[in-house]
């Protein structure tokens, strides 16, 4: 079940975890981590913080393209299926209208397009987030449990090219972390 467990760095540490006391200080800290040039790190909050993705310097999600492709693909396949059934597989005259009555096929085309887009959004989101994942090294931190309540965290992971245990702890304290700890793998 490789996909249920996290991919981990090969070092002894998973990374360094810093705790922040408010969304505001986390937001500021994120932009400083971004500007310092780290690439393998993440922010953890109990609720979405508006604009945090930009403070973190994340690029646009690829999810939109998946949703667009599956939406259009769903719509096209629904139209083709109805055309094939009504014109080739089982042609029936319904209220004197032509076999290929695209108007009548439009509601299903629309709905299947929506279905395709929605499935793409939900399962694409899970795939891009590597979900479901039963365990994560950060769960070993007692303090990190507050991330679902009132804790705001930044984790810098060990496979970041700029990672070094002492330097990252010092850096997180400098940018306002109230508590810093090393998380083992």
């Amino acid at each position: 079940m490789a996909f249920l467990s996290p991919q981990l760095p090969s070092t002894e540490e998973y990374g360094v975890l810093g705790e922040f006391d408010s969304p505001r200080s986390l937001y500021r800290a994120c932009s400083q981590v971004r500007d310092a040039g780290y690439s393998r790190w993440d922010a953890h909050t109990p609720f979405p913080i508006h604009g945090l993705e930009r403070a973190m310097g994340l690029r646009d999600s690829r999810l939109a393209w998946l949703v667009l492709a599956l939406g259009l693909g769903g719509a096209a396949s629904a139209m083709v299926l109805q055309w094939w059934i009504s014109v080739h597989a089982y042609p029936l005259v319904i209220s004197g209208k032509p076999f290929y009555s695209w108007q009548a096929f439009e509601p299903e085309t629309f709905e299947i397009g929506i279905l395709g887009g929605a499935l793409g959004a939900v399962f694409g989101m899970m795939a891009f987030n590597k979900l479901p994942m039963w365990y994560h090294p950060l769960f070993a931190s007692k303090r990190f449990q507050r991330v679902t309540d009132d804790g705001f965290f930044i984790s810098i992971e060990a496979w970041d090219p700029k990672f070094d245990v002492e330097g990252c702890q010092k850096f997180l304290r400098e940018i306002g972390a109230t508590h810093v700890e090393v998380v083992l793998r």
Binding site: H50, G51, D60, S95, G96, Q103, E106
Partner: protein, 396 residues
């Protein structure tokens, strides 16, 4: 309250935007003179062209009225810094009572039921509603309701610019709900009276919503263009951001799709039921070269903008969004033309200098009234309690 540089928030005297009332009035008078000359011998065509121009600009003003009411009803913070521009669009509504006069005067040329039902059994049944007296009384009621709501909201909002009283915001929020109900009824019946009644046998229960969806496409496209033009002229640079373009672009996109949804639903149900007195309206629009315009609307009012305006990248670039908005306004005009004109040109669109003159006449007056409203007050509600929220609007 953030420290705002007042220079970019009022129209500078001496600039072309400051002279907009006179420019608009000049275009309007020229259009009226042209119309008066060209209408000789083509009275019926002229009145239809005037109706198209009237409905096109009215729909923008009505869209503005709805947008302002909804911003108050939903207590929206993000839209405060663009609300004044929509207020200026809706403040032109009283002028439309004057622009309606040619229609009231020439209604006999527009509506076959004007002189009475004659031998027509269906029209005889509809006579309690479709008769000249009631038609004019209804029109008067619409203009009174629209003007009263628009002027009341605009004047209170202007008063807040001086006093900064929070009670004004609360008062307008409380009033916006009942006003929206009045708005829904008046816009629905106005679209029945002024468009659907051109073909008095035909009816569609969806028609009010169809016209309403066009109103919103009109105002959001108009606001994007006005915002863009003001910013390029050096105004409101610090108070209208990428986020406002993105939001207006999303609303434009949403109501463009809503229009397509309503337009297709109306067509679909009539196509399916296949009842002659309903299908005849679409038959007129599939006859001759009207079918080309029907196709252009499906592709140009929905298909092309559906993909062009989809991406956030486009919506956050003012120039590109302005191009999309200009295109949507053109398509909205084509839509109104498509609704009205088959009534007079049976075989296909016949867009000519008469239509241009009518558009210049109504559009010039609209532009003048809008320009006058624009320079009378600050370009944003400077003391609205929610203004800081709007100034911080920024999408990641």
């Amino acid at each position: 309250m953030p420290d705002l540089n007042q220079a970019g928030l009022t129209i500078t005297p001496g600039t072309w935007l400051y002279r907009l009332p006179w420019i608009g009035l000049g275009i309007g008078l020229a259009g009226m003179a042209g119309s008066a000359v060209l209408a000789q011998g083509h009275l019926q065509e002229f009145l239809h062209a005037w109706l198209v121009a009237f409905l096109f600009f009215l729909s923008i003003a009505l869209g503005g009225l709805f947008f302002v009411l909804v911003l108050f009803a939903t207590k929206a913070g993000w839209g405060v810094s663009i609300r004044r521009l929509a207020e200026n669009a809706m403040a032109t509504l009283p002028i439309f009572a004057l622009l309606f006069l040619p229609i009231a005067w020439g209604a006999g040329q527009l509506f076959s039921w004007w002189e009475g039902p004659g031998e027509d059994a269906l029209l005889a049944l509809k006579e309690p509603y479709l008769n000249a007296g009631f038609f004019l009384a209804r029109a008067a009621a619409y203009f009174i309701v629209w003007s009263a709501i628009a002027l009341w909201f605009a004047s209170r909002s202007a008063r807040q610019d001086d006093s900064g009283q929070h009670s004004i915001t609360r008062r307008l929020q409380a009033a916006s709900g009942p006003c929206l109900i009045l708005y829904a009824f008046t816009v629905t019946f106005a679209s029945i009276d002024w468009i659907m009644a051109l073909d008095p046998h035909w009816y569609s229960t969806m028609f009010g919503v169809y016209f309403f969806s066009g109103c919103l496409v009109g105002i959001f496209a108009f606001l994007v263009l006005v915002m863009g033009i003001l910013q390029e002229a050096g105004y409101v640079g610090q108070v209208i951001h990428k986020g406002h373009y993105h939001n207006l672009g999303m609303l434009l996109y949403a109501f463009m799709v809503f229009w397509a949804y309503i337009a297709f639903s109306q067509y679909f149900l009539i196509w399916y039921a296949n009842i002659p007195e309903e299908t005849i309206w679409y038959l007129h629009r599939m006859h001759g070269t009207w079918s080309n315009l029907s196709l252009i609307l499906a592709v140009g009012h929905f298909g092309v903008p559906f993909f062009f305006l989809m991406s956030r990248v486009i919506k956050e670039k003012p120039r590109l969004l302005m191009a999309g908005a200009a295109w949507m306004l053109l398509m909205h005009l084509a839509d109104i033309y498509w609704l009205v004109m088959p009534n007079v040109y049976a075989h296909g669109p016949h867009f000519g200098i008469l239509d241009v003159a009518a558009l210049a006449a109504v559009g010039g007056v609209f532009m003048g009234a809008f320009g006058w409203a624009l320079r009378r007050r600050a370009l944003i509600p400077v003391k609205d309690p929610r203004l800081p929220e709007s100034l911080q609007l920024d999408h990641a």
